[in-house]
């Protein structure tokens, strides 16, 4: 572990006391915040503005069976990555958009809407991505309880 990661960890804990046991340095250049909770937006602002994690690489959404997990992969231009996780319950899942700070996040958020069926507050109208326009309503492929319905017949 080099000092850069330690410094970022210390700064995060200093600013947000409850992160004490939630910040994890997995390896060189990889920092995880395991649950940012309610303070997610403030942590995101702090990380991107004060700590220099200014590049949004991607947003991963996944379903672990009981709740949805969102990981915001933030990177410093010089290589360190901060992965901020937040969780929402499976029923009536809502997340606030971050497109006002990161305009490039739009496509990742649309992907979450399409594949996980998450409501993104503040995301404007637009083309859907990546599913087709005639994709049936209420089918969200990345949910764990989603099953493929009409499988292509084998061989023919």
């Amino acid at each position: 572990m080099t000092t850069r990661e330690e410094a970022a960890k210390t700064a995060l804990i200093k600013k947000f006391g409850f992160l004490e046991n939630l910040v994890r340095i997995q390896r060189e250049r990889r920092i995880f915040i395991d649950d940012a909770g309610q303070d997610f937006e403030r942590i995101l602002d702090f990380a991107s503005e004060d700590l220099g994690f200014s590049v949004l690489c991607a947003i991963t959404g996944s379903d672990d069976g009981t709740r949805y997990e969102f990981i915001y992969h933030m990177a410093r231009p010089k290589g360190d990555m901060l992965n901020i996780k937040i969780y929402t319950p499976r029923d009536g899942s809502r997340v606030k958009t971050i497109t006002d700070k990161f305009p490039g996040a739009e496509i990742f958020e649309r992907e979450l809407t399409d594949l996980l069926g998450v409501k993104i507050d503040g995301l404007g109208e637009g083309n859907r991505y990546p599913l087709s326009d005639d994709w049936p309503k209420g089918e969200y492929p990345l949910r764990k309880d989603w099953v493929k319905k009409d499988k292509k017949p084998e061989g023919k």
Binding site: T60, S132, P136, K149, K152
Partner: protein, 408 residues
């Protein structure tokens, strides 16, 4: 003047893959631009969840045909990180060499496509002829021209022997000479400069704001390169320059790409020289312990990011792929602001879009029965047969033949 909206795609000669853009024109000038992505969605992320890790290496490799090594390496790296596998030195050098060979073939391909988009087919034919050199080398080392199948969890599958080493070095010399020639052409052929410079401008500020990656970002002065910033494989032991440029236009992107070609030759020579002897693979468990990892890789088109989460079984819990084009495609609208229709193909091509990487999932359900007055496939077929029948050409015997053959 009246505005018209013209569709570019899903099928259009300028696009090599199906993707749909709609462009609002006033005369030749572009007033608005919007993209509809997703035509290449194949469900790979979902499919990864019910395949074993070994199978997934080959599945991720097929996310994209051009940067296949990029995706499989990124995936394998993440899995190795979770399992705590340290791959042998020789394997990481071989991964580096293949990844640079892939960059060479991808950039040469791009140069040809760029030539074609501006109507300079001679450049296309010449660069693709020279690209055959690197394709042959790749086929020699890995056994295939694309989808190399080189990676496996815990190392690489094939070694590079001395004769191949010699062949690679010979090919590098030849390609270096050719690349120098293309640099002269790109920087001193009047018609090429006219078509490239000042076109598709992406100012530094916007490149940072929209998160442009790879050569697209570097041509706008964004000094980011995963190979240097977050080294993987053997890149931490290799000296190379990160090429940046401040032209901010398509011309700049061309210069960055040809510059990277020159760097790639140096990297390969260096890697071949430094490559240690030893094994090329270590044994990997079939069951990967629970954990998660983010892996980054500098693909020819920019940073490729894989996130893998495991749950202690043979199959991953979640695989997330962020291909470089997804980060870059949002810059196109900015580049086309106030542009001309004639520049549209080259501007789209200049981010070197790879839409199959971007989309990853297809429709498993049959397309809905929207009747837009279009003909269904069967109707079209019947219509075609009848039309030829009226002309006196009858294919029904051919059908019988085919039926017979089908029964056999």
């Amino acid at each position: 003047m009246r505005k018209v909206v013209i569709p570019i795609g899903p099928q259009h000669p300028a696009l090599k893959e199906p993707e749909s853009f709609s462009v609002t024109l006033s005369g030749e000038r572009i007033m608005a631009f919007s993209a509809r992505l997703g035509y290449n969605h194949r469900g790979i992320e979902k499919a990864c969840e019910d395949r074993s890790y070994t199978q997934n290496v080959y599945l991720t490799e097929r996310i994209c045909g051009i940067c296949s090594h990029a995706h499989s390496t990124a995936f394998v790296q993440a899995v190795e990180e979770i399992a705590g596998i340290k791959i042998p030195d020789r394997a990481s050098y071989i991964r580096t060499i293949i990844s640079e060979l892939e960059r060479i073939h991808s950039h040469l391909l791009w140069l040809g496509v760029a030539g074609h988009e501006i109507g300079f087919d001679t450049l296309l034919m010449y660069t693709w002829r020279d690209r055959e050199i690197v394709m042959d080398i790749l086929a020699q080392i890995t056994g295939n021209r694309v989808n190399y199948g080189m990676n496996t969890i815990g190392g690489v599958r094939r070694d590079i022997d001395d004769e191949q080493k010699k062949n690679i070095l010979k090919a590098m010399d030849k390609l270096e000479e050719r690349t120098l020639y293309y640099i002269t052409v790109a920087t001193s052929e009047r018609t090429v400069i006219e078509r490239l410079s000042g076109v598709g401008v992406l100012p530094h500020k916007d490149a940072v704001r929209l998160g442009a990656v790879g050569p697209t970002g570097r041509a706008s002065g964004v000094d980011r390169d995963t190979r240097r910033d977050d080294p993987y494989a053997a890149y931490d032991r290799i000296k190379f320059k990160v090429i940046t440029d401040d032209h901010c236009d398509v011309y700049g992107r061309t210069l960055v790409r040809v510059g990277e070609l020159m760097e790639a030759y140096k990297i390969i020579r260096q890697a071949l020289k430094d490559m240690p002897e030893g094994p090329i693979t270590v044994k990997a468990p079939r069951k990967i312990p629970a954990g998660e990892a983010v892996s980054r890789y500098e693909a020819p088109r920019g940073e490729d990011l894989h996130y893998v989460k495991s749950n202690g079984t043979e199959k991953p819990e979640r695989v997330k792929v962020r291909a470089p084009t997804l980060a870059n495609v949002q810059t196109v609208a900015k580049m086309l602001e106030d542009g001309q229709l004639a520049d549209l193909p080259i501007v789209i091509a200049a981010i070197d879009p790879c839409f199959s990487c971007t989309d990853r999932m297809t429709i498993i359900k049959h397309a809905g029965s929207r009747d837009l007055g279009a003909m269904a496939w069967e109707d079209l077929r019947t219509h075609g047969i009848n039309w030829y029948k009226n002309k006196g050409v009858d294919f029904s015997r051919l059908n019988e033949k085919l039926k017979k053959a089908n029964k056999v």
